[in-house]
């Protein structure tokens, strides 16, 4: 068993013995990456099932959902969802999806597994921190799930947990008792895990690159994980104290977010001096960068996979996309107020937040143009990961374009808090990132478990998902334009009743698209055990993860110390005879080939 050194040298010996050290409390970044991925998988299935319950309830309010009354006899008596339980399902869906899926899978999961390998390192800089970060995250997840089983039910204040609804405790309604406190504790723990992880990613990228792996030769996925870690270090460092303050307001009688003179449930609250807007500022100072914590790794993964299947380098080489991602990361800290245009903050500040928000569309447009132009003149190999890359570009465009509307406070006065917003963030942050996770899974799966995934099933999965997500989220734009308010458990207003058929269509789409994910799960499990053995480099790719066995040995390269001579995407390069040049291939080898 390893001794507790956090030095990179600590990995220069044989793999650990014993099941616990190998698979449970493992220090190996690959196992930790898979643990994060596994956690994200459990979380995404949970979150998706919750969304099914919500969609069924929205389309058929009186529908009895089997087994739901077993899970929550109070929240769903006889299987029929109560208004408060609907909000709880929504809160838990959002929290699970944003934190435990969109942050865990593309960043912590794939990043842990592949960042060290892509830079030729044997492990992360701090393996023990790495193990701690996963186990803290797992505890955070369990604490959140525990909220389902407390007496007054899970929290219902949304994933944004706006104060004072989230801060004054039971008086503000069901779900705001212990459940909301567990939410705060869970997210605070999650922040600790992410802070440890981010530190680790940054130190690893800066210190552990192998010989010849200059920053400019790092794959774009590694760049994305590195930039994301920098964003995460700042963002979670703000959300963590915010959650602590929220918990203190709830259990210690402080008043950070609760002003004087509030009468909740006929009781004058014993608070004074706090500000609900302070919570919004702290939350969104984290919350907006969080969007990029989800989407930047996705952009990196897509940029990494796309050239492998177009068989040509990205336009502009490494520099353009790297610059775009850095610009997006930088701007992400100047725009949080666009969530608060109508919050009662000074209306002049709305303009200050609007302009940088609109400017984010410039690097995002450039990235999209780079992907599009890289398809021009290519020889696309239509594998499943390639299809998910192309699908990603489409949904990224669809989701990004609605940002033009919401970035403008004058239009936000109409569209704020409608389904237009739901459509926007689900497309650009949810679906786009999920497509990148799928692309990453089909692409790297063979490397991670040494077996190929089934292409036929993969393609069926792609087509059903691609058409399905448009069926779910495109109509939500129309609902938003008609003024359909989000976070309603039923549509009783005169103007909302005629929109219910659209909701039914969305529910059908969601059920079908969700069911299509069973194909993916089956493929994942089947290929893990029964898939054909994967070669070391089945996709004819160039980066270092394809320069080792599938799956890689404990120290990643079997004791070899790689030297890097090339950039990561040398496909179809002039002067070389072959179709591609591995990063480690020496100059002489190129000429010979």
């Amino acid at each position: 068993m390893e001794q507790g050194s956090a030095q990179p040298a600590a990995h220069h010996h044989a793999p650990p013995q014993g099941f616990i050290r190998n698979y449970v409390f493992s220090l190996d970044h690959k196992v930790i990456g898979l643990q994060y991925y596994g956690l994200a998988l459990v979380a995404v299935v949970t979150g998706m099932v919750l969304s099914w319950f919500m969609r069924i309830h929205l389309a058929w309010g009186a529908a009895a959902i089997p087994l739901l009354d077993k899970l929550s006899p109070n929240g769903a008596p006889g299987g029929v969802i109560t208004p408060e339980y609907y909000l709880s399902l929504m809160t838990m869906h959002g929290t699970i999806m944003v934190f435990f899926v969109l942050t865990n899978a593309p960043f912590a999961g794939f990043g842990n597994y592949f960042l060290p390998i892509q830079i030729g390192a044997e492990d992360m800089a701090f393996p023990r921190f790495n193990m701690m970060s996963f186990w803290t995250t797992l505890v955070a997840f369990l604490v959140l799930i525990a909220a389902f089983f407390v007496a007054d039910g899970p929290p219902l204040s949304g994933w944004t947990a706006y104060a004072p609804l989230s801060a004054v405790g039971k008086d503000s309604g069901p779900g705001e008792g212990l459940g909301q406190s567990l939410w705060g504790i869970s997210i605070a723990l999650f922040c600790i895990g992410q802070l440890l992880g981010s530190l680790n990613f940054i130190a690893t990228t800066l210190d552990l690159r192998t010989k010849g792996m200059t920053l400019a030769r790092m794959p774009l996925s590694t760049w994305a994980w590195f930039i994301t870690a920098c964003i995460g270090l700042l963002a979670f460092a703000v959300l963590f104290p915010a959650c602590i303050l929220l918990i203190l307001d709830r259990i210690a009688g402080t008043s950070f977010f609760v002003p004087a003179g509030l009468v909740v449930s006929d009781k004058l609250q014993p608070h004074s001096g706090g500000s609900p807007l302070l919570w919004q500022h702290l939350f969104w100072f984290f919350g907006h960068p969080e969007v990029y914590i989800a989407i930047l790794p996705a952009m990196g993964i897509i940029s990494h996979i796309l050239p492998t299947f177009t068989r040509k380098p990205l336009l502009g080489g490494m520099r353009v996309l790297t610059a775009c991602m850095i610009a997006i990361g930088f701007l992400s800290y100047m725009v949080w107020g666009h969530h608060m245009f109508l919050s009662g903050m000074n209306p002049f500040s709305a303009l200050l937040f609007s302009v940088p928000t609109l400017f984010i569309t410039i690097p995002a447009t450039i990235a999209t143009l780079v992907w599009l132009s890289s398809i021009y003149g290519a020889n696309i190999r239509f594998t499943t990961p390639a299809l998910f890359c192309l699908g990603f570009i489409s949904v990224f465009i669809s989701g990004g374009i609605s940002g033009f509307f919401l970035a403008q406070p004058s239009i936000d006065t109409y569209l704020h808090a409608t389904y237009f917003v739901v459509a926007h963030f689900h497309f650009v942050m949810g679906v786009a990132a999920i497509f990148a996770i799928f692309a990453g899974t089909y692409f790297w799966g063979p490397k991670m478990w040494g077996r190929m995934m089934n292409e036929t099933l993969g393609k069926w999965h792609f087509w059903l998902t691609f058409i399905g997500v448009y069926g779910i989220f495109m109509p939500m734009h129309y609902l938003g334009l008609a003024g359909n308010v989000r976070r309603y458990s039923a549509f009783t207003d005169d103007f909302l009743v005629p929109l219910i058929p659209v909701h039914k269509f969305i529910t059908y789409s969601a059920l079908i698209t969700g069911a299509a994910q069973l194909i993916f799960l089956y493929n994942l499990i089947w290929s893990r055990f029964k898939g054909p053995k994967a070669a070391d480099n089945p996709w004819e790719a160039t980066s270092l993860e394809w320069d080792t066995t599938s799956p890689p040995p404990f120290d990643n390269f079997g004791g070899r110390h790689l030297t890097v001579y090339h950039g990561p995407y040398e496909y179809n390069v002039e002067g070389s005879q072959g179709d591609y040049v591995m990063q480690t291939s020496s100059e002489a080898a190129v000429e010979k080939s």
């Binding site: 109560t82 309604g173 706090g274 109508l342 398809i375 489409s394 239009i411 003024g483 207003d493």
Partner: protein, 265 residues
Amino acid sequence: MGKFFAVVLTIITVISAYFVIAHTWWMPVDVSVHGPGVDHQLEETMLGSGILFVLSQLVLAAFVFMFGDSKGARKMKKFPGGATPLVIAAIVLVGIEVLTLSFVGSKVWASIYFTPPDPNSLAVDVQAEQFAFYFRYAGPDGKFGELHPDKIDDGSGNYFGLDPANDVAARDDIVVGSLTIPVNKPILLTLHAKDVGHSFYVRELRIQQDFVPGLVIPIHFTATQTGRFELVCTQLCGLGHYNMKAYVEVVSQDQFDQWLKTQSQ
């Protein structure tokens, strides 16, 4: 496979765009003075970004259609001109687009928020609570009574926390459950939240504004048409959020005067 992708994506794009162009689901007719600015800004943005959406999806479809794997039969091509013109074009074109939207949009925003309310506005206080709106008119004396949160008592109908026993101005304040206003008259609302955050959303008035506990938020507008419009809450406020609503009755000045008189009696 590439051709199939192109066809599917084109169909998705055409259907998506159709419902927007056909206005199958769209904003209701505006009934406010500032509303046409909001509508115009939204329509301009829809035009620009709609073209961008259709164009980029179709370019993606076309490229995927054209550049499938030829197994070596077709030579690879580079994108003409390389990255530099593309990057410059994106910066210039999108830059112009977003600056235009910012400048024009700022004017619309300013027309709502930066202009002071008309001094002759009709002032109405709004109290939002789980899960109802209440409206207070100053009554014949033209003065609002002071608010005392400790006196709030929904059971006896004291939603605002008035103290008529000691406060003369409060005695004739009119408190009602729907907002009745005269047409073409500037209205100044003052938003108070009793318990948690709420929001004031009337689609036809193109107004949405949060109620924030601890803050008193003014908002002003002028309605241009008579009618009955739904006011709904758009800030998550608890289990009855979906059902938190009131009506805005826009009536003629005469009807309003009559209504006010009835209420004062």
